[in-house]
């Protein structure tokens, strides 16, 4: 078991707390870098997809997990990012600028939409964000000159400095790079005054306010950056889909994003990544399992959403900390071996305010 002696304040602040972090995250990064050389194209494509989910998950985690505002409308930001990116690429804007603009527009929309929503909490906020998502979907369906309406819109391949990213592994590295950048920004945010203010708002609005935190401003910041990251994920998602229609960004996508952060573990950065892996892999696992199940179950309509729902309910009942909570227990088991006691976590089965209906 590792015991860390803190001798300077810097140890509180730095991201890689000790050599174990450097080693294991180094191994992980190395594995991700050589993956395209080892794995087949299908797996690389799926991993890129998980990266996209993880980017959106980090965005949503800032809002839901850290600021405590449950959003049921984040598919709207995916859509805004995707359509903005596709539109600018059509207009001949270089890819790097186009994806930046997609993020910027999502940031702006996120900031604007919070102005009417900033006094709401809990279930009311969720419903209002759902309404926002439906409005965005309708606008996309009707604004034919920009989005192509219900007929859809094709997406050009990204080109960076004259180099066309047309194969799967190009796209894989693009997604990985953006994921790492977003991850770095999220971690920075959480360890800085803004992130602390978000957490304060989540846990107690009244005392956050009495500590001098301007609730409106920080909620706007949180929603804006959350929208921005989700918009970036949307811009990448556009390339993955390669043809955009409004129904790709419907209510179910919002639910899927929300489920990702809940199952991953609300209020943790790990949770967004674990949730993305989970949501990315589950459909594949179900598809494989279908072949082995008796047809009466395997061919049952609505099997996938049904399973998603059951898993979400089970997590909320038995493991409110999500996959990340499981991971912490798993790690502690080996750290403490053979002294691990189940009761260590007895008192920690608490819910964030986000999860309670206020």
């Amino acid at each position: 078991m590792r015991i860390i002696f803190k001798t300077s304040y810097l140890q509180d602040i730095k991201l890689l707390k000790h050599n174990g972090y450097i080693f294991w995250y180094g191994v992980l990064l190395f594995a991700l870098l050589i993956a395209p050389a080892v794995l087949g194209e299908f797996y690389i494509g799926e991993m890129a997809f998980i990266f996209i989910y993880a980017i959106a998950g980090l965005g949503l985690m800032i809002l839901v997990g850290f600021t405590g505002l449950p959003s049921l409308g984040h598919a709207a930001f995916m859509a805004i990012g995707a359509y903005a990116n596709a539109y600018f690429l059509h207009k001949g804007v270089p890819f790097l600028i186009s994806i930046f603009l997609a993020g910027l527009i999502s940031f702006g929309v996120g900031a604007l939409i919070t102005v009417p929503l900033r006094r709401m909490t809990g279930i009311y906020f969720a419903i209002a964000s759902l309404a926002f998502a439906i409005i965005v979907e309708e606008i996309i369906a009707h604004w034919k000159s920009v989005t192509g309406g219900l007929g859809g819109m094709s997406v050009d391949n990204p080109v960076i400095f004259g180099f066309e990213l047309d194969s799967t592994w190009h796209f894989y590295f693009l997604c990985l790079a953006i994921l790492l950048a977003v991850l770095y920004c999220t971690l920075n945010l959480i360890r800085s005054p803004s992130g602390r203010a978000f957490i304060a708002i989540r846990d107690s609005e009244i005392s956050a306010e009495s500590m001098g935190i301007n609730l409106s401003i920080y909620k706007i910041k949180s929603f804006a950056i959350s929208g921005c990251f989700t918009g970036l994920a949307g811009a990448l998602f556009a390339h993955r889909l390669s043809f955009l229609t409004p129904d790709a960004f419907n209510f179910l996508l919002s639910i899927q994003l929300l489920m990702m952060v809940v199952v991953g573990g609300l209020g943790t950065v790990h949770g967004a990544i674990f949730g993305a892996i989970f949501v990315g892999l589950l459909p594949q696992v179900i598809a494989i399992a279908k072949d082995y199940l008796p047809p009466a179950i395997g061919q049952f309509p609505g099997l996938e959403p049904g399973l998603f729902g059951i898993i979400m309910v089970l997590f909320i009942i038995f493991e409110p900390m999500g996959l990340y909570g499981r991971w912490v227990k798993f790690k502690l088991f080996f750290d403490m071996f053979p002294l691990y006691r189940k009761a260590t976590f007895k008192r920690q089965k608490t819910y964030l305010k986000t999860e309670r209906v206020q």
Partner: protein, 256 residues
């Protein structure tokens, strides 16, 4: 100069007048206690001072400045910090984080410098921690530093909340029932700390408290209220022997 003054403050909730024409002065460097039976309007007065409620009538003056219409999040900038009756800490954060939020008003970073954690943010974070450490030392919270609030016992949470208020470096501290839910030992400690806060840190205190031992030990001035009106005003001894106060707490004896 007026340090703190409440002038004829009244507040209505619908048809109920919760605080009715209450006036009081607090002198700098003193401990001022508000007592009264349950529902007398003590916490309402606190919520008025920290601008959570809007006054119906009256004015509140702090250091010659009218703060009656100030936004709630700016009150702390002037040097008024508070604690809550039912502990309002950030439960899923560590003690250190809670105290750091207490120093939020001293954070001078922008959202974008936070996002990239520029060297200036790093320097500021180190500086914040240095200041927080003084409060940790003052309140003996060293070995709770990295624990989550939700795992701490009630007595420690009370102290952490006091610490968070101290981190804002206030001139006036509002303590809403600092000893409620504490055992005899912890109450004793709390009374020493409140005394230290006055004498060592030079912070004035307005306190709501039911524990009369604590009240008479530390306060310089006591205000008794009932049904939102002032019953008595004076030294702890004067208020405790005031017949109106005794009546409000114990009721009337027909034979007397």
């Amino acid at each position: 100069m007026t340090f703190f003054k409440a002038e004829n403050i009244s507040i209505d909730f619908g048809g109920i007048r919760a605080v009715n024409d209450v006036s009081f002065d607090v002198e700098k460097g003193t401990i001022f206690t508000i007592v009264g039976p349950n529902g007398a309007g003590k916490t309402t007065i606190f919520n008025i001072i920290s601008r959570i409620y809007n006054l119906t009538e009256g004015r509140i003056i702090f250091e010659d400045k009218d703060i009656t219409r100030l936004p709630a999040h700016q009150v702390v900038n002037l040097g008024i910090a508070r604690t809550f009756q039912n502990i309002e800490l950030f439960e899923h954060a560590t003690v250190l984080h809670n105290l750091l939020i207490g120093r939020h008003i001293y954070c001078r970073s922008t959202f974008f410098s936070d996002l990239f954690f520029l060297p200036s943010v790093k320097r500021m974070e180190l500086e914040l921690r240095r200041k927080v450490e003084d409060v940790i030392d003052f309140l003996d919270l060293q070995h709770y530093r990295n624990q989550l609030i939700q795992n701490l016992p009630y007595g420690v949470r009370k102290i952490v909340e006091l610490g968070r208020a101290l981190c804002t470096e206030p001139k006036l501290l509002l303590l809403d029932e600092p000893a409620s839910g504490l055992n005899v030992d912890e109450t004793e400690n709390m009374s020493f700390w409140i005394d230290d806060i006055k004498k060592l840190l030079g912070i004035s205190v307005i306190m709501v408290e039911h524990n009369m031992n604590l009240v008479s030990q530390v306060s310089d001035h006591v205000l008794a209220i009932n049904y939102g009106r002032v019953l008595a005003d004076g030294t702890p001894k004067e208020v405790q022997t005031n017949p109106d106060v005794i009546k409000a707490y114990l009721g009337e004896d027909k034979d007397v």
